[in-house]
């Protein structure tokens, strides 16, 4: 099968990869690029574990093809921290114990980041509906929602 060469920016770095037409972004990240921070929970867009940000939009990486990403700007969980400096969301998730097994965490962090970029002062309900596409089985969502609201507050203060 013919391979396509695709040039993208991933977490601020120029990255070129080769992929087959049927390979999703999720497969490209994990298998071609060895970036396992984006997780595979279902492969069909129902769990949100593979949420990444493409051209400023949160999407399920399992429902995007590698071949269509020429020139795209991709953000994954691995690029969320700036050097050693954790993003406020990452920090608040640790402070609030908003993760237990952690498998849903990369996807939720990306989704939360995208949510707050669009709506810096969300209500609890807006956070819950915003995260409805991200399944968590461990935490019951309580501490996740608190962490996002607290991060939002800190990010508003800092801006």
């Amino acid at each position: 099968m013919a391979r396509h060469f695709v040039s993208t920016t991933i977490n601020g770095d120029e990255v070129e990869f080769a992929c087959q037409p049927g390979q999703t972004l999720l497969e490209v990240l994990r298998t071609e690029l060895g970036m396992t921070g984006t997780k595979n929970g279902c492969g069909s867009g129902d769990c949100g574990a593979c949420t990444v940000i493409v051209n400023d939009r949160p999407v399920n990486a399992c429902l995007v093809l590698g071949v269509e990403l020429e020139g795209a700007d991709i953000e994954t969980n691995e690029g969320m921290a700036k050097g050693n400096q954790l993003h406020p969301l990452q920090q608040k998730f640790l402070d609030h114990a908003a993760l237990q097994c952690g498998i849903c965490t990369p996807g939720i962090l990306n989704m939360a980041k995208a949510l707050l970029a669009k709506n810096p002062d969300p209500t609890e309900s807006e956070v819950r509906y915003g995260l409805a596409g991200n399944l968590c089985r461990c935490t019951g969502y309580d501490k996740i929602v608190r962490a996002v609201l607290d991060a939002a507050k800190e990010m508003r203060v800092n801006n």
Partner: protein
């Protein structure tokens, strides 16, 4: 060793501390089952039966073997068989005869999704294409899914060599009923004759899945000298080692298992599925083999809980004394025996002193995947039934449901139906806290109802090994053998720091592989903080002993005159001017004065603390559509002592939300051919963030005297009472009994309609 649980001014225990593995998990660095890659790695895919029950007539793998890129193909011929186990049938879940057949079907397939053959190829795509080239001929047989139908004389029999075990003998004919567990006391007939009111009800619950977000995944590497290295997502890599080695007839020492980080387990990752297949294919091909289940495969082929059918009868006097209680439950074990019948017996009516009681629980095979544990296996469905009747009895005699439970509450010295004698327990405290909680008396809005239920779990201790090492610079590594599902490394560190009197940042907890550590049983049954934590404490106390001896040697005094206080060795001789030695100073001296200092502990912990959990749930029902949503939820639980309160709360909240899903929308849906219809998260409906409210938690601490820090398990009771509490809330919202889980909208709407019809 006497545990002094009166101390409460801890330096670390009970404080909200940072977990040591947290940073890796928020940065995508942590490595789970599918995050391991080896050079030359092959990818394995499994061919699965499309039939619920069939005989395998033939399997032709020749075309698959010939496909370019395929390196190995296997069927059950490459998986060793093991003889039938013999009475008295100890740990059934480790029955090699059954496990061999569940891993790969032999002459019959027993469920839609049962593994039939497997391929290892250079890519997943090629492996999947190869599966399509495997030709399996089946003789389809009638199937059965309901456990009561399955014991009917005309029911299709799954195993011709399975007979009902009746205590010294077996049944004459093969049966889907493997055995029944019974617990009883007193005289039921007498008890019911003393009752003023008797309630009898039937209940059913659909099977549900643990719903872990990370699918099962492993990588197996083997070498020509017969050694195996396995990387797998599991709750117990020592058990995985034992099962793989036992199944494949390999010496234990030759199998080295490393537990990856685990993306959820809840009991579902306590056993083997793909690991033996990956190992065998690796042996056959000489290359590492990766085997990852898709989400669909997880639902079709990994073990969920039992579904249940229950009959409960209870009698009460008008003064509130429960005089008799009886339960008979039929559990769907799935394709092979092993429903958690004994544990269900243990938990039935466990909170109540009832002089005359009996629970009978049947283990019945049906054409579904073999069940695995799910967070207090056997208990939530039992509580759903029993607590519904308890609530009804309270209503009938006009007694407050908490007062009713207080009146009949067990205390220390009472016994469960399974024979456990309760030690120091916090049931009364939990019930009293409930009455005083603002949720209990908060007003309800229209179409809202409040539900209440109590849950119990006995928890486990068991085998844990720990190895702790003091390093030259005064830092410490604590190695355990328990995968960290929800923050246990944090609690290990906290307990070690508390013992040593040093900062937690100086302690590094790790999970060691099976080659580096003594046997540790599963991270399950909430045994880790209890048993492994205890072993950690033991290992640190051994280190402290050696540090005191070292100080004594340095000071040339008797070791009896040295004690450990706040991170230092101090001389207790009166009138002495010896300056204390810090941990760091002593650590720096150790290797020059005798050798490296380490402590280890291999224990079989007993005395796990039983715990009770009460849940209050408010729901709102839309009477025109049957839509139900939880509006307020409070979990009040005896947690012994919360070593890491953040994570104890997290356990309580997570269990509560799993319970909401179990009560309202989760179930397996089959077509009339016994094929699973909802094989993904779209139609297996688990709660999403907008489905649930904040979950309030009340941590009642009645320390368990058997543990150095008073630890009780917390993970299980929180799920046990959740579905029952939600169901009770719906009952109260619509004024109609709800006896069948899940309470999905069609079921609720029908009940609302019945209420309306009754009113008209």
């Amino acid at each position: 060793m006497i545990n002094d649980n009166s101390k409460t001014n801890f330096q670390w225990v009970g404080k909200r501390t940072r977990r040591p593995d947290g940073v890796d998990k928020v940065t995508g660095r942590a490595r789970y089952g599918d995050d391991m890659s080896m050079p030359g790695m092959l990818h394995c895919k499994v061919l699965r039966s499309p039939h619920a029950h069939a005989r395998i007539i033939s399997i032709d793998t020749s075309k698959a073997t010939a496909l370019k890129g395929v390196k190995g193909v296997l069927t059950s011929a490459e998986i060793p068989d093991h003889p039938l186990s013999k009475p008295p049938y100890a740990p059934i879940i480790n029955d090699m005869h059954d496990i061999s057949r569940n891993v790969m079907a032999r002459d019959k397939v027993f469920y839609d999704g049962h593994a039939v053959a497997a391929v290892a190829a250079t890519s997943e795509r090629i492996a999947k294409a190869a599966l399509k080239l495997i030709d399996v001929k089946y003789e389809i047989l009638p199937h059965v899914l309901d456990p009561i139908e399955a014991v009917h004389p005309d029911a299709p029999i799954l195993h011709e060599d399975q007979f009902t075990y009746l205590g010294g003998k077996t049944s004459e004919k093969p049966s889907n009923l493997f055995r029944s567990s019974v617990g009883e006391r007193g005289d039921l007939e007498k008890g019911f004759s003393e009752a003023d009111i008797i309630v009898e009800r039937d209940f059913s619950s659909a099977p549900v899945h643990q719903g872990y977000i990370e699918p099962l995944a492993c990588v197996a590497t083997t070498s020509e000298d017969g050694c195996v290295e396995l990387w797998t997502t599991t709750q117990g890599h020592f058990v995985i080692r034992a099962l793989c080695a036992g199944l494949l007839n390999i010496e234990l020492a030759k199998v080295r298992v490393t537990a990856s980080e685990i993306g959820g387990g809840f009991g579902g990752k306590n056993t083997i599925y793909g690991e033996p297949i990956a190992i065998r294919l690796s042996q056959m091909t000489g290359r590492p083999v990766r085997m990852v289940m898709s989400r669909t495969e997880v639902f079709r082929a990994s073990g969920p809980t039992v579904g249940s059918r229950t009959h409960v009868k209870m009698g009460v006097k008008t003064d509130g004394t429960i005089t008799a209680a009886e339960a008979e439950t039929w559990y769907q074990a799935g394709a092979f025996k092993g429903a958690p019948t004994g544990r269900a017996v243990e938990t039935y009516f466990s909170a109540y002193t009832i002089a005359n009681a009996k629970a009978t629980v049947h283990d019945v095979c049906v054409n579904r995947p073999k069940v695995a544990a799910y967070r207090a296996p056997g208990a939530p469905m039992a509580a759903f039934a029993a607590e519904a009747v308890i609530n009804e009895l309270a209503g009938r005699i006009g007694m407050d449901p908490v007062d009713f439970r207080l009146k009949n509450a067990v205390t220390e010295g009472d016994q469960s139906l399974g024979g456990s004698v309760y030690g120091s327990i916090g049931l009364i405290e939990v019930l009293n806290q409930t009455k005083n909680h603002p949720h209990y008396s908060a007003p309800l809005g229209p179409n809202q109802g409040r539900g209440l239920a109590l849950g119990y779990w006995m928890h486990g201790g068991g085998l844990s090994s720990v190895s702790s090492h003091l390093l030259d610079d005064g830092t410490v590594t604590v190695a355990t053998g328990n995968p960290d599902i929800g923050g246990s490394r944090s609690s290990m560190r906290v307990m070690a720091a508390e013992e040593l009197g040093i900062d937690i940042e100086l302690i590094k907890p790790i999970v060691a592989d099976t080659g580096s550590m003594g046997y540790s049983h599963l991270t399950a049954g909430s045994r880790t903080t209890f048993a492994t934590g205890w072993a950690v404490v033991n290992s640190i106390r051994e280190i402290i002993g050696k540090l005191c001896a070292l100080a004594a040697k340095k000071w040339e005094i008797d070791v009896a005159d040295v004690s450990w206080e706040a991170g230092q060795a101090v001389s207790t001789k009166s009138g002495d001017s010896i300056k204390p030695l810090t941990l760091k100073e002593l650590a720096g001296m150790a290797t020059k004065m005798g050798g490296a200092i380490a402590g280890h502990s291999e224990i079989n912990a007993g005395g796990a603390g039983a715990a009770f959990c009460l849940q209050l749930v408010d729901v709102e029902v839309d009477p025109e559509t049957g839509f139900v949503i939880a509006k307020r939820h409070t979990v009040i639980q005896d947690v012994g002592r919360a070593i890491s309160p953040d994570y104890v709360e997290g356990q309580m909240q997570g269990g509560a939300v799993q319970g909401i899903g179990w009560a309202l929308n989760e179930e397996y849906v089959y077509d009339d051919q016994g094929r699973l219809q909802n094989t993904g998260f779209l139609d297996y409906r688990m709660p999403v963030a907008s489905d649930v409210p904040m979950i309030d938690t009340v941590l009642v601490e009645v320390p368990n005297p058997n543990h150095p820090y008073g630890v009780r398990g917390v993970g299980e009771p929180t799920l046990v009472s959740a579905p029952a509490a939600v169901a009770n809330a719906v009952e109260n919202a619509i004024g109609q009994q709800m006896s069948s889980l899940p309470l999905s909208p069609p079921t609720v709407l029908k009940a609302c309609g019945q209420v309306q019809n009754a009113a008209e």
